[in-house]
Symmetry: C2
Subunit: 349 residues, 2 copies
């Protein structure tokens, strides 16, 4: 049975809020010497690591990580490209369940981030707020009543908060409506980016939607406005799905069917293509042509098919073509067990 409207929740893959914080009497990381960054790290790392939310988590200096390990953390949306590039005196603390992470000496002294699957701003915001308050007991935040939190980049001053949702919008992409959506959303002070933030492409029809401004509004107001925009986008995605199912079901069944066929039988699948194929299978799950039980595996593969994860799994550094081969072997074995999609409406036969 094809079902498009019952899956509103599935459109939002992940909700994320991050706070930028700096502590007084230290230069911003970009202006600090390595010795100064080490002082900041020595002050912040223990304060973060001892938080109850970080129990049994990981706490380390970025320098101790290999390039591959950094890439894997980046592919899991835990650390930024910027942190990967910092030489000396930066650190990272990650909770055991990887839902809470603090980067130290990235662009700001502290970048606190909470992320959670699904559409869940209230819960994410409550968690990060509690963490922020606990940290404030130990660390002296740079804060001015008139401006709010001070940050290295003026675009973050104020709430220093970026709230974002990762959205899966395949029908809007297929219907060529994303450009219109992006334009409308931008006018409301909301940014739309690809999967890995600014400048990245929207492989897999996955987009990050986030607030652009941090001044002149409270955190609650920002989240309320963003939530309302997200709800509108969900509505439009659902409408686009219904319209495709109604007017040209074969076009979307063809895309979903081919994606499944290629995942089951390909021998060279790139990272970008795997995202697009998995994205279409995920849409198939939303349409109930694949069983709901495969959704977690599909969402996991969207992460596991990234280049760093593939190399980690291969146990060695391998070139792009070897990765494509290794990735397709993984995908074939995962999809071998998945039954054929069953499209029951609109099919010509």
């Amino acid at each position: 049975m094809i079902e498009s409207s019952g899956q509103r929740g599935a459109v939002v893959l992940m909700t994320r809020v991050r706070f930028a914080r700096n502590i007084v009497k230290h230069p911003f990381p970009g202006w600090a010497k390595e010795s100064q960054r080490r002082e900041i790290l020595a002050e912040c790392l223990p304060a973060v690591a001892k938080l109850p939310q970080m129990k049994k988590g990981f706490s380390l200096e970025t320098d101790t990580l290999s390039d591959l390990e950094k890439q894997i953390l980046h592919e899991r949306h835990l650390i930024s490209r910027e942190l990967m590039a910092v030489k000396g005196g930066s650190g990272i603390v990650i909770s055991r369940d990887q839902s809470f992470v603090v980067m130290i000496n990235e662009e700001d002294h502290l970048r606190i981030q909470v992320l959670r699957g699904g559409f869940n701003f209230r819960r994410v915001w409550n968690t990060i707020n509690a963490i922020d308050s606990s940290l404030e007991e130990d660390l002296d935040y740079a804060y001015m009543p008139k401006l709010g939190y001070l940050t290295a980049c003026p675009t973050n001053v104020g709430t220093a908060m970026r709230a974002s949702a990762m959205m899966h919008l395949p029908a809007l992409v297929v219907a060529n409506q994303m450009e219109r959506v992006v334009r409308a959303v931008n006018q409301l002070g909301i940014a739309v980016r690809g999967l890995f933030g600014e400048g990245s492409d929207a492989s897999g029809s996955i987009f990050q939607i986030s607030n652009q401004t941090t001044l002149g509004e409270s955190e609650e107001e920002i989240i309320k406005r963003l939530t309302s925009v997200l709800n509108t986008i969900i509505e439009q995605e659902i409408n686009a799905r219904e319209k495709i199912l109604e007017t040209e079901p074969n076009r979307i069944f063809d895309k979903i069917g081919r994606a499944y066929g290629i995942l089951q039988n390909g021998h060279l699948i790139s990272s970008g293509e795997s995202m697009n194929l998995l994205s279409l299978v995920r849409l198939g799950v939303d349409f109930q042509v694949f069983p709901e039980e495969i959704r977690p595996a599909v969402d996991r593969l969207i992460i596991d098919c990234q280049p760093g994860h593939i190399q980690y799994r291969a146990g060695k550094s391998i070139d792009s073509e070897e990765r494509d081969s290794f990735r397709s072997t993984l995908l074939r074995s995962e999809f071998e067990k998945v039954a054929k999609p069953s499209f029951s409406i609109g099919d010509a036969q």
Copy 2:
């Protein structure tokens, strides 16, 4: 097990020889009035129809066929586009097994054609020769000892014979070597065309290779020369297959696997795409990654997926998108029973 050299025969899909013949005291069809064409038809049709090879065959005037029926005969390589266009006074006689066909009042009074699966010039030539001799007993052929058979177009004068082979050259296509092959072959007076002759494209990596000249050589010499060129092309195709299997097996396994996956799961497959997908599956049969038993079905589908055949099967005239849907339904049901390809060498895993 992957096997590339044991399948030389499979490279040639079909062998064909056609003779152009005209009878004395009648203008060529292009210069004849309809009443004159009717006279020619009245003389030729019974002579052809009574041949023992035509027992239980079909004999009719082209006008009595619907456009769809003409298209189907064309898709089976039995009649030409030219014959489809003639208004009044043309005819066609087809043997029961469709291996022997005579067009009356196409470009010449008679176009006699024998076609047979595989690489079989000797047998095809013996058959057409016997038929031609029988016909000559009844019909007075326009023939001059110095020039040979006279034909409407000077390029056919002499033997008035065109011998051709339909070749499946997927590895030469994948390896981008077809252009080089065509150039070399042209210099030997041999033409390379797409599936449906002059100006048609080479969907499915299928090419027609035929003699370009009809003067200055006997039929036997032409066939000998053509056979030698075909053997060289087969050699090059086999070499290209071996090279791909040796140097980049995953590239070709990827193409074959995807083709199978799309045939099993697509919902909108065009005629051209179906040819390319089936061509790759056929290569898979040559490589023994699919069982030999499916070869006849694949070869049949290469014909059955043409637009005319699809409409005939649908029982009505349907537009291009409906055909693509109908075709993919046919392909899904045919490939449902075909087991996954088993690639056992060169695979990364």
